[in-house]
């Protein structure tokens, strides 16, 4: 009898504990995740002026994507470019850097700190320093002038032909931070016995990379690739600070931001329907893409160690 009473009291206490600890995060999830996403779904099907349910936002979205010089079309093209650059350039280069940091290249202690700095220093600071550096009157301009090939007077960021590529260079320049950190972390956990045994068997550096390091850190690489695909529509750089979307440099993330932010007027712009419609359409595209890439990545055998 006494035992049952004690058990019941413990159960009651468990319920109270769970409620006390979980009530705030659950309420937060219900309001800021569930309600927001359901309401975003509804907004996608609502007419921006009348509020009636129709497909006008989808027609607008389609036209803006297919129209020559359409804002969303340009943003989509640039987002794809930034995604491809990260996947095909930044990620492999990060692996390269991480490998040599792992192999204790001369000065590695300093390099691993400096290479992470772009993730620590505020974007505005990095962008301001970068803009000053590439200014026609800045250090790059002076060097180019010295070589007899001066930069255009309006600067590289103020020309449609070069602006996106300048942002691409910026994203590569500042993009190694987390990837390098994670890959170095993965490599650091490779048991030294394996490397030692391989060296005793006469394994060269190239063989070490291909046959030992890459297979052993594949879980980290595949996680990063999946994450990259998961955030495919967020790909881009600090467009707001670099060009404010001018000179055909907009991305999907920047376009969404400007649709709500406008010119910074109090209360926003109120144009949420097209944003929600575009967001829903891009989410629908990304779901099979993410599931497909996850399946593909899981097909590669991983090594347990």
């Amino acid at each position: 009898m006494h035992e049952t009473k004690k058990k019941n009291a413990f159960k009651r206490e468990t319920t109270v504990t769970l409620i006390v600890l979980m009530v705030l995060p659950v309420l937060n999830w219900l309001v800021f995740w569930l309600y927001v996403n359901v309401s975003s779904l509804a907004l996608a099907f609502q007419h921006p002026r009348t509020g009636e349910f129709d497909l006008v936002n989808f027609k607008l979205l389609y036209n803006s994507i297919t129209m020559k010089g359409g804002e969303i079309g340009i943003a989509l093209r640039n987002t794809g470019l930034f995604f491809a650059v990260h996947l095909l350039i930044t990620l492999p280069l990060s692996l390269f850097i991480a490998f040599f940091l792992y192999k204790r290249v001369y000065g590695y202690g300093l390099y691993r700190i400096v290479f992470y700095l772009p993730a620590v220093i505020p974007s505005l600071v990095m962008v301001t320093a970068f803009k000053n550096f590439i200014d026609p009157d800045g250090p790059l301009g002076a060097v180019m002038k010295w070589f007899g090939n001066p930069l255009p007077p309006e600067g590289l960021l103020a020309r449609t032909s070069s602006s996106v590529w300048v942002i691409v260079v910026y994203t590569i320049w500042t993009g190694f931070t987390t990837d390098v950190l994670l890959f170095t972390g993965g490599m650091a956990r490779i048991p030294t016995e394996i490397i030692e045994a391989a060296k005793l068997d006469g394994c060269g550096p190239a063989r070490e990379v291909v046959s030992i390091v890459l297979p052993l850190i594949w879980p980290t690489i595949s996680t990063q690739i999946v994450l990259l695909f998961t955030n495919i529509f967020s790909a881009g750089g600090p467009v707001l600070f670099l060009t404010n979307g001018k000179y055909e440099t907009s991305t999907i993330a920047f376009w969404i931001f400007t649709q709500v932010y406008g010119n910074g007027q109090l209360g926003g712009t109120g144009s949420y329907n097209l944003v929600s419609c575009a967001g829903m359409s891009f989410t629908l595209i990304s779901v099979p893409l993410i599931l497909g890439i996850r399946k593909l990545m899981s097909k590669v055998d991983t090594v347990e160690y």
Binding site: F10, E13, T17, L18, V20, M22, P25, L27, N28, V36, N37, S39, S40, I97, F100, K103, V105, G107, R112, I113, F115, Y116, V120, I121, P122, L124, V125, M126, A129, F130, N132, F133, G141, A142, W173, L181, L182, G185, G186, T192, I195, P205, T220, T230, N231, F233, S234, I256, F257, Q259, L266, G268, Y272, V275, S276, M280, F282, T283, S286, V287
Partner: protein, 306 residues
């Protein structure tokens, strides 16, 4: 004794990794030089900005040699940045750098405390308690991380307006109380590996379940909480989109300096603006410099060690 063993092991590891043949040595020197050049490209623009933050603004605006050092060092640019550089909010009130720093600090504090604490709560409850909604909650947490919903900013903006928390500190408090994101996974992983026998021993001694969580479990998670807090501090200090969108009258240094820069003309006082940027960087650099080991050591596959 343990430290001696660990040091010996580290020395062995280092020797295996650092031992290089003659040809390899040349390759490593070339790579080291390339890495050095890349490191220089990161450090040089920052030095360029720091040096120019001491220039007289007319000298900076008319400079013809970008590599030249200031003819005289104007430390007062930093005083100008703190006392005179400001933006105007929606009611016409001037907001200076000091107030922006204050906003950044409370913004960071509230967001980190709310986010990390709530994640510790959900991570603990879902890993240690077996209740009806447990599996559903775990599935939802994973699902919301796996499938990112694009473009819900409009709906979020509308919601904050409807709730009356737009342009209010309440927005920061309420929106920070999330417990189902990346932080949740780390805390869930950590608490899953903590033995429940500590709690059972405390229950026998008459401790309540909340006391067990706050006095036994949370202190054990200190390193995970610290790492998450450092990463969150850097992220939140540098976040300019959230204050620009939802808190226009509460600018942080990240968003406020951008608004100030927007009002500049070509002949503006850029050296003082650079001084403001340098000041805005100091807190994150201090945190990173003192905690870089924690960040570097605790990162692992797909995120942080549980």
């Amino acid at each position: 004794m343990l430290n001696v063993k660990r040091k010996r092991r580290m020395d062995e590891t280092a020797s295996i990794l650092t031992h290089k043949s003659g040809k390899e040595k040349i390759l490593y020197i070339i790579i080291s030089v390339l890495f050095g050049l890349y490191a220089l490209t990161i450090v040089y623009p920052l030095l360029f900005m720091i040096i120019n933050s001491f220039q007289f603004y007319l000298e900076y605006n008319s400079a013809t040699n970008p590599f030249a050092l200031p003819s005289s060092w104007h430390f007062e640019n930093y005083i100008t940045a703190i006392s005179k550089m400001n933006m105007v909010d929606s009611s016409g009130r001037e907001i200076g750098l000091v107030e922006m720093f204050f906003n950044s600090i409370w913004f960071c504090f509230v967001t980190i405390f709310g986010g990390v604490f709530c994640s510790a709560c959900t991570g603990y409850c879902l890993s240690k308690y077996n209740f009806k909604l447990r599996n559903a909650m775990y599935t939802i947490a994973i699902f919301s991380m796996t499938i990112p919903i694009v473009g819900n900013t409009g709906a979020m903006f509308k919601l904050t307006s409807d709730l009356g928390i737009y342009n209010s500190p309440l927005y920061v408090i309420l929106s920070s109380l999330g417990g189902f994101g990346f932080n949740f996974l780390v805390m869930y992983g950590f608490f899953s590996n903590v033995s429940w026998s500590y709690a059972e021993a405390a229950f026998i001694d008459g401790a309540s379940q909340l006391k067990v969580f706050f006095q036994i479990m949370l202190p054990q998670a200190f390193m995970s909480i610290l790492t998450l807090s450092i990463v969150a501090f850097i992220r939140v200090w540098n976040d300019y989109m959230t204050p620009l969108l939802y808190l226009p009258d509460y600018p942080t240094v990240a968003s406020g300096l951008y608004i100030i820069e927007q009002s500049f003309t070509r002949s503006g006082d850029y050296p003082s603006y650079f001084a403001g940027l340098v000041l805005s960087t100091i807190p994150v650099i201090i945190v990173f410099a003192s905690c870089s080991d924690v960040i570097m050591k605790n990162f692992s596959v797909g995120g942080l060690k549980g």
